[in-house]
């Protein structure tokens, strides 16, 4: 069985994550688009921590007999992997766009430098 203290600590920690994410959105420091995965992480972990029977059942399903909270770690790590993978795709897109922007800027600068002042 899951120790009560683990459930309480887990629930508090994961719910804090949810609140922090919401505050980051509110203060315009995190876009909704990038917050959704974090919110899903926080809410799932909160639910699994608070709903002790659910955690025990899930642990039995996946063959964890001795220590059900291990499932919390597993789920948490899975979500973190998902977030990281998502960010990798975001970074890839950003770096592609960055290249394009730099190229366009160089072309534009060349055009502007060529034009005599009077024609501008």
């Amino acid at each position: 069985m899951t120790p009560l203290a683990v459930s309480i600590a887990g629930a508090i920690a994961s719910f804090t994550l949810v609140l922090v994410v919401l505050e980051l959105i509110r203060s315009h420091r995190l876009r909704e688009r990038y917050a959704l995965l974090w919110l899903a992480t926080g809410l799932t972990l909160t639910a699994l921590s608070a709903w002790r029977n659910g955690l025990n059942t899930l642990a039995r399903w996946v063959g964890v007999r001795s220590y059900p909270p291990a499932v919390l770690f597993a789920v948490g790590i899975l979500f973190i992997l998902a977030v990281l993978l998502h960010y990798s795709t975001v970074i890839s897109r950003l770096s592609d766009q960055n290249v394009l922007l730099a190229q366009r800027l160089a072309l534009l600068e060349e055009q502007v430098a060529d034009e005599p002042i009077s024609e501008r």
Partner: protein, 258 residues
């Protein structure tokens, strides 16, 4: 609400419009087929209307089609999504000192001959932003997938509650704005699927929004950017944005974009 029967189909019937600097913002993504007709119709409605097409990273001949019609074209180097594209247009309008802007989508679903209905209340000072609604009366002619219609209704109900005014069509991009509206949207405009959040933003900034019944047409070409799965994703995202937005004291970030 302005009456459909007296809405002029041509701009010369709108008193005072001629003195205003006015621009049509036309966001377009891969609309080379529909776009020329939209531009022609805009000119037929009001020859004095400047037209700026925002090409949101199209991979077809959208920019060329626009250039061939000798309108201003803002070519985004890559796809920004509708919110970013439209805001580019608002920035253009703001920085070039336009008094009045209309937004007409490049896919042909917005009928420029109905622009008079949108412009009239803005011109009369009754509204800062007039939005063409498909549902304000039993506006006919609009067909859409079931999920999308349900989504539109649900969002309308949520938004109406929040802003305390009945809003029937929060996803309509068929709009006319005065200088105040242009300035607000130039400074801050939501990203993908932006109209819902923008509606709430307008009210929180105490601008006056008025819905005007319009009919919308079938898309003239291209493909809708919104599939069923995406609608659900956007729905969650938009609802999240709205609810978090309620706890903001300043809806708009303080640094100024001008």
């Amino acid at each position: 609400m302005s009456d459909m029967t007296i809405a002029p189909a041509r701009a010369e019937a709108l008193p005072g419009l001629g003195e205003l600097r006015r621009v049509a913002i036309v966001p377009a993504l891969n609309e080379e087929r529909a776009l020329p007709a939209v531009i022609d119709e805009l000119r037929a409605f009001d020859p004095g209307l400047d037209i700026v097409v925002v090409d949101d990273g199209s991979t077809d001949g959208t920019a060329a089609a626009a250039t061939a019609k000798s309108v201003r074209v803002l070519r985004l180097p890559f796809n920004l999504g509708i919110g970013g594209a439209v805001q580019t247009g608002f920035r253009f309008a703001f920085e070039n000192g336009y008094d009045l802007a209309v937004r007409v989508d490049g896919d042909g679903q917005h009928d420029p001959s109905q622009l008079g209905r949108l412009i009239a209340p803005v011109l009369a000072g009754e509204a800062d932003i007039a939005v063409g609604s498909r549902f304000a009366m039993d506006a006919a002619g609009y067909r859409s997938s079931r999920t999308r219609r349900i989504g539109i209704r649900l969002l309308a109900a949520v938004v109406s509650r929040i802003v305390g005014q009945r809003v029937t069509d929060t996803t309509s991009g068929f709009q006319a704005l005065n200088r105040l509206g242009i300035a607000l949207f130039a400074r801050d405009y939501p990203h993908d699927y932006p109209e819902v959040e923008a509606t709430v933003m307008v009210f929180r900034h105490r601008l006056r929004l008025l819905e005007v019944p319009v009919t919308m047409r079938e898309r003239g070409g291209g493909a809708s950017s919104i599939t069923t799965l995406r609608s659900i994703y956007y729905m969650i995202k938009v609802l999240l944005a709205i609810f978090v937005g309620l706890f903001r004291r300043n809806v708009v970030p303080q640094e100024d974009a001008s």
